[in-house]
Symmetry: C2
Subunit: 231 residues, 2 copies
Amino acid sequence: MPKLDESLLSDLPPFSLLERGQIRDILDQAVSRRYDEGTAIFREGHDADRFYLLLDGYLRVIRSTEGGEEIIVLHISPGQLFGIAKALERDTYPATSIAAAESIALSWPTRLWSEFAETYPGFATESYKTLGRRLGEIQTTLTEMATQAVEKRVAAAVLRMMNQSGRRTEDGIEIGFPITRQNISDMTGTTLHTVSRLLSAWEKAGIVASRRKHVVVTNPHELVLLSGAQG
Amino acid sequence: MPKLDESLLSDLPPFSLLERGQIRDILDQAVSRRYDEGTAIFREGHDADRFYLLLDGYLRVIRSTEGGEEIIVLHISPGQLFGIAKALERDTYPATSIAAAESIALSWPTRLWSEFAETYPGFATESYKTLGRRLGEIQTTLTEMATQAVEKRVAAAVLRMMNQSGRRTEDGIEIGFPITRQNISDMTGTTLHTVSRLLSAWEKAGIVASRRKHVVVTNPHELVLLSGAQG
DNA sequence: ACTGAACGTTGCTCTTCGACAAACTCGCGG
DNA sequence: CCGCGAGTTTGTCGAAGAGCAACGTTCAGT
């Protein structure tokens, strides 16, 4: 295991208040690992024996029904803690995490979570902030799902990914990780067919451009209108 | 303000580890209040200046869209803490709480949350457990909403309320708070018309019996089948 | 360069469920 | 005891979107 550089953590909120030596200690206890696209970091219901920090890449957090259908609950971007079941006093993971793109994450044994929370100022605070944000996100998704028509939901989902991971290109803003129609339908509770039709229509209207597994939003403003912002 | 009795808290998880004197201190700082059916305890987006404990009654936690539609995110039963935005480092409430039945709640100023969490063993732990459970519940609702047909969602929603608040009667198990078809449709993202049709059909099939604003489940087993447990 | 698998498109049909409409009933306040 | 309003029921209609099917396209691996 190569020695990890302190600059990896020093700018991230959960660690930004700490001194060099403290960060060193934390890093020395961490395991770093790479995950190929499509690999599971952990699975729903399994023992929550470690917690994680995403250094690079993107994750999908999914839940599956007994019927075998999967729905994507949220995405995780670099710099975020995840798998922090312990913060909520759970001993199993409540959902499955899959690498949406090739990703790198640090992890620590669960027992260190309480130790970090007690020892390092701001660590617990930031963890709980993260959870609070996620709870809010999920509630928003839920309300959308319950009240909005499919087209608006899909538009909103694409916008959310764009805002979270978008990077400028010459044509517009590209979603920063590979994504299939099936993935989008799993976020919005619809079918890949319907998503395909919508994206085709939007492509004709000059709102998006999509290649296989990649989506570029060329006219974000129009997409916002479609998403039905303020009705 | 009448002096509150210590037995109010002594059996509840967040306080069960505490001594008599500590509970006295906590109670002396609490404000107790009654809320009529339909009254809001606090509203989404407002300053989270207090946190609460439901002593008696039932609450609906709702979120509303810009379009004015409301959806019910979850229900809260007696003995639960709520409005604990502070635990997630939020300074506004993320949703609105409405009394579903006449209810009584204690409340404390937000700043005491951290104090309680530090001073009283088990208090923070229990708060986070509550949040963890709710996060799980919401995720379940979300997956259901995304993958299940209306009938299954409604069946699941009725079952959930039955399990949470049901009380035995001679005819079956009655949901413990007033509930309209509109309320059920707000939980399941459908219309009151559809819910009315479903309940009528179930009534004919001998699965439920409903009077105005009240629902009794007469054949829970059949309802579980309808909810599509294990496909 | 070839092949198969994964991903995407499109047309058609069929069902579910939302929208609109109208009437009924229960329970409360005057 | 009456009238009003909130809650409920039931019917009809139409549109949104799921299901099914078939085909096209891109890519990774050999």
